[in-house]
Symmetry: C2
Subunit: 368 residues, 2 copies
């Protein structure tokens, strides 16, 4: 018996293992927590009248993407053409690709996806617009292009309203393309400052005679704040499905809202201070995100994972009242969930405290 939604339960692969015999390291997903996280955010978007376009690069899973759409998402966000292909194959009809595509082979694949799903992409240069326009025309498909705006995160994007409106006009002039609006990834804690640029860019586009149908923002750290949302019509959040140690420490999520853990085993206790676990950078990645340590041992929150080799985590257990012993199994809350899901072919799904099956990480490794 499970309370899981059909989108998930119908895709579960059967298991030969129990929670007690599962090999380590393995990724566990508490699907009850994950589904509650999805429902809570959809309700918030519905109340705010904001379109929800979740980023699937956290879970990389067809089952969860379909569940997000079923709950009311207006479409999904992907970051590579390979991810778009997987999700279009699964029947998702509205895809926003938030990276720019170059090179004939990848552009041809993008054009093919645009023949079977509504595809929007971003651009911050005429070269990027020309590339996607060629793909659209070759495929005989329409592709929507949003101008990427730089609002303080220091990534891609144009930072001046006139340049933004200029590129929007260029997009609107291309056969095969439509101008879709503005997109930004705001710097955490600086969304209010980004609002000014977006308002200016909207005004400049309107002055150039262009409607701005969508203003798309994103980012999990500030997702529950209202600051800077005024011009935003659509929100792209990813990590909120699982949450992680980074979001917990920033106060975006509680410990009880974290759905992903990495199950590991203590394989060595070479000194009283040091424990070695069989989860290293191949399980947790070396992402620190400004935190102290590479994850949190739920059974031993005082312990610090201070170094990773590929297969091993080195843990300072000197502050633990009852330090873990050789053979103990521990649950690690990772710093950053998105990168963990890219390292495993399957996630093990827990519901009501029981292991109920495995889900493939369908879009794992789809880096191009």
């Amino acid at each position: 018996m499970t309370d899981l939604p059909d989108a998930v339960s119908s895709r579960l692969e059967p298991l030969e293992r129990t929670l007690e015999t599962l090999e380590t390291p393995s990724v566990l997903i508490d699907a009850d927590i994950a589904d509650a996280n999805l429902r809570r955010w959809q309700e918030r978007c519905d109340k705010a009248g904001m379109a929800n376009r979740p980023h699937i690069k956290t879970h990389r899973s067809v089952a969860w993407a379909l569940r997000q759409v079923e709950l009311g998402a207006n479409g999904i966000t992907v970051q590579t053409v390979g991810e778009a292909e997987i999700m279009a194959d699964a029947g998702i009809k509205d895809l926003f690709l938030t990276t720019m595509t170059f090179g004939p082979a990848k552009l041809a694949r993008l054009g093919e996806v645009a023949k079977r799903a509504d595809v929007a992409v971003v651009a911050d240069s005429r070269e990027a617009v020309d590339a996607v326009a060629g793909a659209a025309r070759s495929a005989g498909a329409k592709i929507k292009v949003l101008v990427e705006c730089e609002t303080g995160a220091g990534r891609c994007g144009l930072a001046h309203p006139d340049e933004i409106a200029g590129l929007a006009t260029y997009i609107a002039s291309q056969d095969g393309l439509t101008f879709g609006g503005l997109m930004t990834y705001p710097a955490a804690g600086k969304r209010l400052q980004g609002e000014q640029l977006l308002q200016g860019a909207i005004a400049a586009c309107k002055a150039a005679g262009l409607d701005v149908p969508t203003v798309s923002s994103g980012g999990s750290p500030d997702m529950w704040l209202d600051d800077g949302l005024a011009p935003v019509t659509e929100y792209r959040a990813g990590t909120y499905i699982y949450n992680d140690r980074s979001l917990m420490i920033r106060g975006t999520a509680t410990a009880e809202q974290c759905a992903m853990t990495v199950l590991a085993t203590v394989v060595s206790r070479p000194t009283p201070e040091r424990a070695i676990i069989d989860a290293g950078s191949k399980a947790l990645t070396s992402d620190l995100l400004g935190l102290n340590g590479y994850g949190m041992l739920q059974e031993h929150p005082e312990a610090v994972i201070y170094q990773l080799n590929e297969e091993h985590g080195l843990v300072d257990v000197s502050k633990c009242a009852t330090p873990p012993q050789v053979g103990d199994r521990v649950h690690i809350l990772p710093n950053h969930t998105c990168v963990v899901s890219n390292l495993f072919d399957r996630m093990f799904i827990v519901s009501n405290g029981k292991l109920v099956g495995a889900l493939p990480v369908d879009a794992r490794g789809k880096s191009n």
Copy 2:
């Protein structure tokens, strides 16, 4: 036409792309350089009378493992049971697993591998010995166990000759096990200091009536030095097949001996100082290894990859005389090759400057 060894050329998958149309990011391996690296190291081991037991976790490839054995390796080193299974399936008969195994399912799999290949493992505790002894007895197989010694790297291992000899005696007393000798992963630059412990441990084992058939050391940074090698009978090197930016900067390898690059495209030039490439932490990993930047652009060595998002690298091009432009393709020398090969399902093989096929990364993701 290719000069590649059969072990590699016979396993190449055909391609639909050329070097010019290959999607980015992709991993390129110059197989001529890689094969020369393998040959040079085997010659060194042969001359020194030292057994060569290469670590396959750099390439994770059956083709390259078979080539290493063909050139004279005495066997291979693996770091997970999953890697051991892949390599035993490929017909490699002598496997050294340098991590400790716990949990019934993984131990049962280890026992199965030991039925079809000679398997050696390490242990630094009675618990670890008991676990592998149970696996050997259940499978009706013999497993060799080496005592892991801590010689300054601060990982697993025992650090006192008497403890080492005590555990060796315990191993030798177990049905299903044989005592295989001593193993260490030395701290880079401290191998001479480790020699003292190894010599003491050998003496203690001999005093306890135990022969020490193998003393296994490893590590690529110091692999060409003689310091500390006196008691070593076997060497485990991994990275030497491809080399990387870390080994180049440490002086272990030259730029011309680096066989792996990540092919990427410049997707944005938002400011005169900043370029964005489509290789981020999903292509390069966040491993810094103490270096400045996440890799080196071969076409623009003055550029600094100062930040990674998952799909994007942020590059400071302010020092470049001719900075890269949107759409340019660049080759990145990664900081750390081993972790890159774990992120891609296939590597693209270049020989004589031409793309000749793809090799699957057979053991990618085999984390348990």
